[in-house]
Point group: D2
Chain length 130, copies 4
């Protein structure tokens, strides 16, 4: 359970009239975090799609919002693989601002091919993500 | 458990390069659906904020994606209140395209005042939403 | 220069912490407006892409913001074709709330094929949009 | 005319089904670029709003799209002040990927106070941005 942490500066675009980040944007941060997690492991998700025609659509996502984040905050999104099946994988996320956890979440992904059929997680990917 | 249904036409903006709607957008549809649910009950959420200084931030959200939705689809988002506490409320959602359920989800909300303090659900609101 | 008008209810998502709609969202409304313009003319843009492999990427866009729009407003986006070349077309837009013009804008589009090459506007499309 | 350059990694969220970045997102990048421009000059835009109640809404925006950008690209957004009036200011932008200019644009801003009234650009800000 090695964590990887990505930082993101909150944009004006991401705020809403309550003066805080709109809730759906946390799922975008999760996307950024898992892309960078892959990259750190030597796996470029773009290459997975472009060259190997392997896709990881989201099958389920969830987020608990404990405290708001605001414009210009630097949020740190930590991510790790919390579950791994034969053709599925779950990422967990923890978002913090100045060391305080403001949200936690997860995304479950299926591994599919270009026809949308589930495929087993390829061995090399499984190995890298171990 | 009366349901309310809202229809939404999928925009190009909401798609991603996988050719389907990006997962975070479902949470935006949930927002649209609960706003219209309130409106149908005679409660305008905007008025709640503007005139009564009552806010319903999201404390938790989740979504299961069963099948994709695509550009120009008309999605129907059904919503109902699935849980009601003293100062919290849960909305459940079901998204379908052409009669097929493609996603289900929920959002849990706290009732707070303009200082961010939890408040009991006001009686008139509780009554209307009964 | 026949205009077509589309209505859109402003979502919470579209607001920012200034309490008004974030400026980039007007370009999304333009997209919605031109899709509906096409539909009214009997042209489904989705079909254009899916069946005829004709695409209309945006080559240029602009917007003047005269007054803000706010959460829950119903905005009316009027659109018309303001310029038509051999392989290019310009849409103009006017956004109003309660009869007051709050923004005007335009988008210039190229007609391209699936390899990204410019193509002449097909005769039937030209005819329909006349 | 000193330029400032900000880098941004294109997210999956920003792509659309054409496989490229959706056009409205360039305006979000412009926002990021001018925020960082201000920061480099020692001006934190957030502080301007929070402490001095000075706001810079967008009065006009435009963008020319020369070539697409794609998922996982690193885009560099260069920005500079191209025009300065007594209470208005224009930012110009140039977006490039791997050294190739893919888009240019601008945003015109009014300086307003918390009641929405135009104000002259404060001297210290004018001085800093000189």
């Amino acid at each position: 359970m090695k964590k990887h942490t990505t930082r993101h500066r909150v944009t004006y675009k991401e705020t809403d009239q309550m003066g805080v980040v709109y809730y759906a944007n946390y799922l975008v941060w999760f996307e950024i975090a898992r892309t960078e997690y892959f990259r750190e492991k030597g796996l470029v998700y773009k290459t997975l799609e472009d060259e190997r025609r392997i896709y990881l659509p989201v099958a389920e996502a969830g987020c608990r919002y404990k405290a708001p984040s605001r414009y210009d905050d630097i949020v740190s999104i930590s991510t790790w693989i919390s579950e791994k099946g034969s053709s599925r994988m779950t990422f967990s996320y923890e978002v913090d601002v100045s060391g305080k956890v403001i949200a936690t979440g997860f995304t479950k992904h299926a591994f599919i091919n270009s026809s949308g059929k589930p495929i087993p997680i390829p061995d090399d990917i499984r190995y890298i993500l171990e």
